[in-house]
Subunit: 282 residues, 2 copies
């Protein structure tokens, strides 16, 4: 595995790979890798000839009061994990090379980015689409794999790829969970052992919603109300949002039908966790 720091060199290498007609699979990450990330890499590797992984804690997707400084980093450990998967190139650019002095260009997807996570984190997706557009131009992948835990991110990036004619296949891979149901996330590191006991309520609330659907409930307010009730039993849980939307255009649903996305964001102290589940409602 080669570790590349320079965007220009990474681009040059990827151009040469493409000239050979090889398929590039790409997994962009912010590092501090867990099994969820590694699963994305395994999927990308299966579907490509050359696997490129990037690790870049992207400042432009963090709000001014968010955890950019505090976000966990461990490049040495990450390198070992990525190498084991059989990654060919690990791209770890420096901030000053990605956003040099006088940087001025942003990519933005409208509407889809104003709801759910976008409502709570106003400039978040603008940072995500900008850095991913940059990474796509550098790495020139045929396939890029993202996690369904960040469901809205995958929807937004698919839209960007379609709208800007990137011609890249975006795959959203299933969320990997701990035994108690907690979705793997680098931010789980922040949790105290007391919080750790309570965070499993995120997935429990999503399963409750699924169960209610199964039993015939079709009223979104009733489902949200029950989810809220369950979550509020955990004294450390502070609900940011619970939302029931269409899974494609992320618009709130009055009548539950088709592919329905249940998503939520819950704060435990300073730590904000998200999760979601997609349910086919007939």
């Amino acid at each position: 595995m080669k570790i590349i720091r320079s965007p220009k060199l990474m681009q040059k290498i990827c151009r040469e790979i493409k000239q050979k007609g090889k398929i590039i699979g790409f997994v962009p990450t912010m590092g501090y890798l867990h099994q969820g990330h590694l699963n994305l890499m395994r999927i990308a590797k299966k579907k490509s000839d050359v696997l490129v992984v990037s690790i870049f804690v992207n400042p432009s997707q963090f709000g001014p009061k968010e955890d950019f400084q505090r976000y966990p980093r461990d490049l040495e450990r990450d390198k070992r994990l990525v190498e084991k998967i059989g990654c060919d190139f690990l791209f770890c650019p420096k901030i000053k090379d990605m956003y040099p002095f006088g940087y001025k260009t942003y990519v933005e997807v409208c509407d889809l980015t104003k709801v759910l996570e976008g409502a709570s984190r106003p400039s978040h997706f603008k940072g995500v689409t900008t850095v991913v557009a940059k990474l796509f131009n550098i790495v020139q992948p045929d396939i890029a794999v993202f996690g369904q835990k960040d469901f809205q991110q995958a929807v937004v990036l698919k839209k960007m790829v379609d709208d800007l004619n990137y011609g890249i296949k975006i795959i959203a891979a299933p969320t990997v969970r701990e035994k108690n149901g907690l979705a793997l996330s680098s931010r789980n590191l922040y949790l105290s052992s007391e919080q750790r006991e309570q965070v499993k309520v995120l997935y429990q609330a999503l399963l409750l919603a699924k169960e209610m659907i199964k039993k015939g409930e079709r009223n979104p307010s009733k489902i949200i109300s029950k989810m809220r009730e369950l979550i509020n039993k955990q004294p450390l849980a502070d609900i940011d949002y619970i939302s029931i939307t269409d899974a494609k255009i992320l618009e709130p649903l009055k009548k539950l039908k088709g592919e329905v996305l249940f998503s939520l964001a819950i704060r435990f102290g300073k730590t904000r966790l998200i999760d979601n589940i997609k349910v086919k409602v007939s």
Copy 2:
């Protein structure tokens, strides 16, 4: 020469060309071609193995009260001209294929797009950078050639290419002029014969500025004042702006030194013409 309508087919063709290691030269236009355009194509052809020209009157770069509907179009004539130059692929996408229903993604360069043309045409450059990003993703050129008549456009696109890591060389080619100095533009078609007599004042005003610099004048206000005086002698001329800025970052200059851009936009009836000249000031 092949004429391609479908963005997907154009992208597929260009991918195959790139796989062969060939250099793609690209000239994006809005059609109704004149010698200025043809000059860009000759330059692109010299520097590449395969020349791709696009003709697309891009709705997103016109303001709501601007001349999108009225903008001149003559695809049959354009085809003949482009073929004569030795163009390999003429890409003429349909609006509904470039901006399908539900289109949501925009590329924007900050600051640089708020001055000069951007001050007079607030959403213009957002439309330009968006469509050019799309065209770059479809055509995957190594080199793209733009005209210096749209000086700010070339500066903005260079910035976009650098910031988003496109790895494309942007060439800004000299403005082609009529004998009387008028910069070639598809919009010159709009001019009445009475206006035609007067529009040469744009270039005359720019030459006056250059002459004043040559004679030692270094006060921007004095130069603008003289230019204004000259232009106002033409009864049909209505000044939108006359500006003296740095040629790289397009910021107003208090002291004239280095690469200085003199630019102006003048209305003649409903027709708005722009021109500029770059002068090295020691």
